[in-house]
């Protein structure tokens, strides 16, 4: 499908490495304390009096993305946004991005342009400076490596390890959408492989498809918390699913948790899609991943500040012990595990 979308095909060899870098990095706008962007041995950042945050991500074709249904612009956008999300998960602001690409000769220059269009769109939307990178050839497929730099005042930085007993567990947005979007895309891909004349049936699933293809990092939640004067006690972004992430918080904080199934925020279209695929919505929300919502804990006395905010849902609380439970609708406590959950005991 890639070919159809790239009618112009300039071979990468025509530009050469330096030519390609110049071509894709010209006129990059800067929004932050970047002194020098692309073009020297290093980017230069004026650090001032805040602390610097750094995070990195690697995406491999055939492992993390499938170009048969992910347009390159979306891939670039998502790769950037997912990386920014790690900075927001520390309660910081993403400020600079470096991007490395390895591309096989199967990709024409226009494909790399498309990818950069997505990267630059994300940088523009989140006001992040694209300050450098490396571009090289690969023996097979496309590999992307992104490193994001951010900043925060020392006293505002939120780690995974600060959750205290009786803290409330809060999640932004809703969960499970990105996973169900992926199910739709994979179904339509196999339909397409069986019969290339059938048009993909994506009607009514726009929300969950967008959750999968063009997720948004919750920079707005960091701003909301600032406005509400709430500094979470711990925070993480949801890339691998609620279950895996709350376990990270509990492990880092050496505490337990109780999550209430009925409180987990799920969009109506996720319910519909789960029914269609015969999947349990709670399983999907717990283990689906890629929603890039923020999961955090706040002190009980901060509850009044966040109460009623439509972006935030309290789904449970931190416990003194190290037991991590999901309390089901029928009031069973079930142990949370990273890959799902194991029933361990009956009604309490």
């Amino acid at each position: 499908m890639l070919e159809e979308k790239s009618p112009q095909r300039t071979p990468l060899s025509e530009l050469g490495e330096f030519g390609l870098i110049k071509h894709i990095t010209s006129d990059i706008p800067l929004y932050n304390d970047t002194v020098e962007g692309v073009g020297d041995d290093c980017a230069v950042i004026d650090a001032r009096d805040e602390q610097t945050l750094v995070s990195t991500d690697m995406l491999v074709e055939g492992v993390h993305f499938d170009l048969s249904y992910v347009p390159l612009t979306h891939l670039g956008y998502k790769a950037a946004v997912v990386n920014f999300s790690d900075i927001y998960a520390m309660n910081g602001q993403a400020t600079q991005l470096v991007v490395s690409l390895a591309v096989s000769s199967r990709f024409p220059v226009e494909a790399i342009e498309e990818l950069y269009r997505g990267l630059r769109h994300a940088c523009e939307r989140f006001h992040v400076d694209l300050v450098g990178g490396d571009t090289t050839s690969s023996t097979s497929g496309l590999i992307l490596s992104l490193t994001v730099i951010g900043k925060a005042k020392k006293e505002k930085i939120v780690k995974r390890s600060g959750a205290k007993p009786s803290d409330l567990i809060v999640v932004s947005g809703d969960l499970g959408g990105a996973y169900m979007g992926l199910q739709i895309l994979e179904r339509e891909k196999s339909v397409f492989i069986d019969n290339p004349d059938v048009q993909p049936d994506l009607q009514g699933n726009e929300y969950i498809l967008e959750r999968q293809l063009k997720p948004e990092a919750r920079q707005d939640v960091v701003k909301i918390l600032e406005e509400l004067d709430v500094v979470p006690t711990s925070m993480i972004d949801i890339s691998d699913g609620l279950s895996s992430e709350i376990l990270h918080i509990c492990e880092a904080s050496k505490r337990g948790c109780r999550i209430f199934e009925e409180k987990i925020p799920i969009d109506p279209t996720v319910y519909t899609a789960c029914e269609e695929f015969n999947l349990n919505t709670t399983t999907v929300a717990l283990n689906g991943g890629e929603d890039y919502e923020l999961l955090f804990t706040i002190a009980l006395e901060d509850f009044d500040k966040i109460k009623g905010n439509p972006n935030l849902t309290v789904i449970g609380h931190i416990t003194e012990d190290e037991n991590r439970y999901l309390v089901t609708r029928d009031n069973n406590a079930i142990e949370l595990t990273a890959q799902g959950w194991n029933p361990i005991k009956g009604e309490e």
Copy 2:
């Protein structure tokens, strides 16, 4: 050859992603202003009053390295050092490193350990904090992406663009060794392929093999310049060969240069190897690459400060116009090009 060197083979799947990360990042020592290293969404760095430098590199198996003759420990060491070199090329100090890996199932855990041994050795030697990364599977081979962070006082940062007419062009160490080391390794590889019983003949070539397999970044030159109270007007590290790098400086500075063939520092073993392979030493020094020496320009009045320093050689000067010449031993001026040089005119 990889298999012979890794008698223990624990499949990656046995540890899982989180297990592997924990395994390879335990007990990482910190030398710099790192507040949080590996283990949260981001690393945290206390920036203080200096400017931050960022650079990134991607290395792909089969494109940048050949594991049939590069031991993984050396690969890790070199990948790190090459990245630090970009920070030194801005006259800064490398302080933090993030490393992402994509590995196919062909690599056992022990192979990744070896790679990390090299990375950590480099970090120890250059006092850089390994603060994070991402580890994922690849569909083919090994891909490494490194991002290094450094710092420097604003007034000490040296860019490519500051060279002025009459500035002296200076190079550290000697050139061409890494390229000739590669020639030896490739020759011995083809001998080995033809006849696996023949022992590789590496005798007498230790220096150039080390230049290829275990290069050192010139952190010491940055220190020497500090001690001599010299701030170069422009600087770059030599990764693609002297010719390509001096052209980068000239282009960024919008100036020309005259490099004198007879001044280019070349080790005696490079002469010997060039004879053996029937190669011209000047061609090798100009275009060989991977020496990771520093190439910089200084104001003429700083000459007395660097004169006689055994680490530094003056090889030419910057000119007002934009002509970039190599002046040969027989006094011909030849235009420098990135891929070699084109004779453009006869004797002057």
